[in-house]
Amino acid sequence: MNRRDGMRAKGEGRPSSAGRTRRVLGVLLGAVRQIVGAPDYQRYLAHHVARHPERSPLSPRDYYAEFLSWQFGSGGPTRCC
């Protein structure tokens, strides 16, 4: 098959526009979660696997409960008037 340098054959992993949109949306939603202070289970999993591989991670439900007790543990997030 004649291929010029830089061109990929069909089906060789060119990122589809749907995949790209999903990735961008994922990044955006992750940013929104961080801005409003929402728990990010995926980030917790990644951090847990990296730092404590020997322990099994918390379930989403337990993680959310622990997140809340940490966030509101000494009163809550400081927000101004």
Binding site: I35, V36, A38, P60, A65, L68, F72, G75, G76, T78
Partner: protein, 681 residues
């Protein structure tokens, strides 16, 4: 070489153009003697000043004064635990920090200060933030970041001395109480005799609980999803409220008086602090954050699209102190009424809270600390614009208490005509009908007039449609996040009280010991509840006494923060640059002490607490209570002033000791560790 020179020349020309634009805008503002100008000039003056200040002043602070060093690892990098110490993208952190500092303050303060005309508020918002507020936020963020996220109180104790630390803690608790009372008062005045408004706010409680159950049991941690549902339900309640209000039975159930509403909020505050956080506090927090940011963005876009004309003059005669909304001359009271947006001590708590633990590189503190506060000042400018688009007659008819205006539209029109502004009696009735309310007369506290201003701007995008919906949307957004501040603030306040008392009696400090939880929650709620009730029944209108107390307390905390900042700069050897914190400090001390003295000792009974106590006729209705409240308020103001003086003296002593080399400057920063980020990219 030539390319660099060309770039430099282009950049210089650009900045000269921006500065000229800003100067022109200020000139237009200054010369508009009573004529209507376009609100765009206020925006241009503000934005031009902000960008020039950011580009030059904050850069000077970052490079020369704080000497931010990207080679130095921030606590987010060194102590990364995937939880509170997390290196965060600077724009995300900017949004997070802004969402934490922005609240009702930058909206209500400027609306109240519009009594003096739009110019004093505009000038203070712009000059105050550039020289004071943004500098304070940046300084405290920097200081806390270098100390692994220590709080303001801890820094005051370590870098100044324990007297300053204790004073800071007491001041913070006192401010909390006054802040919660005054915000609750704003909500009560907004929802008084407003069945539509009360229905929406009442429905936020079951909506939040539904979100709470969703996020805990049904779909754990899916905050965005639950918030989307919550917002949809909220908007449904917004629309449904119209029918509820019209129905004679339901409408009657949701029409509450001011005192009934205060009790409702007091009971709500206590329950919300007692219930588990996942059920009410946490979902309300998310809901209000989304609504807050969404509304601010919508309003900004609407102002840019509509570009309304001002109707309020630049200066009114009330700069002389005879103001009907609240007593006091433009100096010092314009600078006390507007705190958030210009300089607010409470921000120092946020800047030494979660944000410093999330900064990835030291240089990013400039955008987040300085830039974040600039954005809040912009929100304040939007509130000034919303106020300026109101006709003066309407503005005063809404914001002046009934004791001065009288009970009917006719008496109000007469009173307003005496001040030189026109108001036809039918005008207020027509406006009320347009906004879907029974009456808009003497709806004090700033929120209803802000809602009217916002509704006309937002409605103006599509030719004046849906004004009633926009009005109640604006009321909903204000009331929702004020109430969230109240219930979250009660919880934070109870932790603070437990910690404070725990120093003296250890068991009280155990935060999960139930008796301690109940008692401290009750004390905090009783604290702000008392001032709230006092404000609601105050014949002069609660805003007149409470808002200045709040402003004084807030500026006092800012003075504490600037003292801490100055101390740190001097200890770092940067005493030549310490003017960046001492100049705003001197101004603040001047303003707060003058305002405090006037509120306590002025001979005008509308202005001075003690004068008012003397003017109460003994034996008249509520005489004893009025006198007691006046004396209490006077004591509070004196106590705040005493704390300012104590902290300044304590700090000045440290400065003298260090500068005269009697004491070695010991700076308690975290150790220098080389950053991997700097070498990485």
């Amino acid at each position: 070489m030539l390319a660099r020179k060309m770039r430099h020349l282009r950049s210089t020309i650009l900045w000269i153009v921006v500065a000229a634009l800003g100067a022109t805008a200020f000139a237009v503002l200054a010369q508009s003697r009573g004529e209507s100008i376009n609100a765009a000039w206020i925006l241009v003056a503000g934005v031009a000043s902000y960008v020039v200040a950011y580009r030059f002043y904050s850069r000077y602070l970052a490079l020369r004064v704080f000497a931010l060093d990207d080679r130095r690892a921030t606590p987010a990098e060194r102590l990364n635990n995937g939880r509170d110490f997390v290196p965060t993208n600077k724009w995300v952190l900017y949004g997070h920090h802004f969402a934490a500092i922005a609240g009702a303050g930058p909206l209500i303060g400027p609306m109240l200060a519009a009594q003096f005309g739009f110019l004093p508020g505009t000038l203070w918002l712009i000059a105050g933030v550039v020289v004071g507020g943004a500098v304070q936020d940046f300084t405290i963020l920097f200081a806390s970041m270098r100390r692994d996220g220590k709080s303001l109180g801890q820094m005051a104790k370590e870098e100044v001395n324990s007297v300053a630390g204790m004073a800071a803690m007491v001041a913070i608790l006192a401010i909390m109480i006054i802040l919660l009372a005054v915000l609750a008062l704003v909500v009560v005045n907004a929802l008084r005799a407003s069945p539509w408004g009360l229905f929406i706010i009442a429905s936020t409680i079951p909506i939040a609980m539904l979100m709470g159950v969703w996020m805990r049991s049904f779909r754990p941690g899916h905050v965005l999803e639950a918030s989307a549902i919550g917002i949809a339900l909220l908007l449904a309640a917004l629309v449904a409220g119209q029918w509820i209000a019209r129905d004679p039975t339901w409408g009657g159930w949701f029409t509450w008086s001011g005192t009934k509403l205060s009790w409702g909020i007091i009971v709500y505050g206590f329950l919300a602090a007692a219930l588990p956080v996942w059920l009410l506090l946490s979902p309300r927090g998310y809901l209000s954050t989304f609504l807050k940011i969404g509304t601010i963005v919508t309003l900004a876009l609407a102002i840019l699209l509509v570009l309304p004309q001002t109707r309020l003059p630049a200066l009114t005669q009330f700069v002389d102190g005879t103001g009907p909304v609240f007593a006091g001359k433009v100096f010092p009271f314009a600078f006390i009424t507007i705190a958030c947006g210009a300089i607010s001590g409470f921000h120092a708590l946020v800047a030494s809270g979660t944000t410093p633990k999330m900064v990835t590189r030291e240089s990013e503190a400039r955008l987040i600390g300085y830039g974040g506060m600039l954005m809040e000042s912009f929100v304040g400018l939007m509130a000034i614009i919303a106020a300026a688009t109101l006709e003066p007659g309407v503005y005063f008819a809404m914001n002046v208490p009934a004791a001065t205006l009288g009970p009917t539209a006719e008496t109000a029109a007469r009173a307003i005509a005496q001040w030189g502004y026109t108001l036809h009696p039918g005008q207020m009735e027509a406006l009320a009908r347009q906004m879907g309310e029974a009456t808009l007369l003497s709806r004090t506290g700033g929120a209803p007039s802000l809602a009217v201003g916002m509704a006309s701007i937002l409605g103006g995008v599509v030719r004046g449609s849906g004004l009633a919906l926009w009005y109640h949307f604006a009321i909903m957004f204000e009331a929702l996040f004020i109430l969230t501040t109240v219930d979250a603030g009660t919880r934070v306040g109870r932790f603070m009280l437990q910690e404070l008392v725990g120093h003296v009696w250890e068991p009280f400090g155990r935060t999960s010991w139930y008796p301690s939880v109940l008692i401290s929650s009750a004390v905090i709620v009783a604290g702000w509840g008392y001032f709230l009730y006092q404000g609601v029944v105050d014949p002069l209108g609660g805003i007149n006494s409470l808002w200045p107390l709040f402003g004084i307390a807030n500026q006092l905390l800012a003075a504490v923060a600037l003292c801490v900042g100055t101390t740190i700069l001097i200890k770092m050897g940067k005493w030549r640059a310490a003017w960046v914190t001492t100049v705003p400090l001197v101004w603040l001390v001047l303003v707060t002490l003058t305002a405090g003295c006037e509120k306590v000792f002025a001979s005008d009974p509308r202005l001075g607490f003690l004068a008012h106590a003397r003017s109460v006729v003994p034996g008249s209705a509520n005489a004893a209570r009025l006198v007691f409240n006046d004396r209490l308020d006077a004591t509070l103001a004196l106590a705040f002033m005493a704390v300012v003086v104590v902290v300044i003296l304590a700090s000045a002593r440290e400065w003298w000791l260090v500068l005269s080399r009697r004491k070695a400057p010991a700076v308690h920063e975290a150790p220098f560790v080389e950053s991997a980020f700097a070498t990485g990219d």
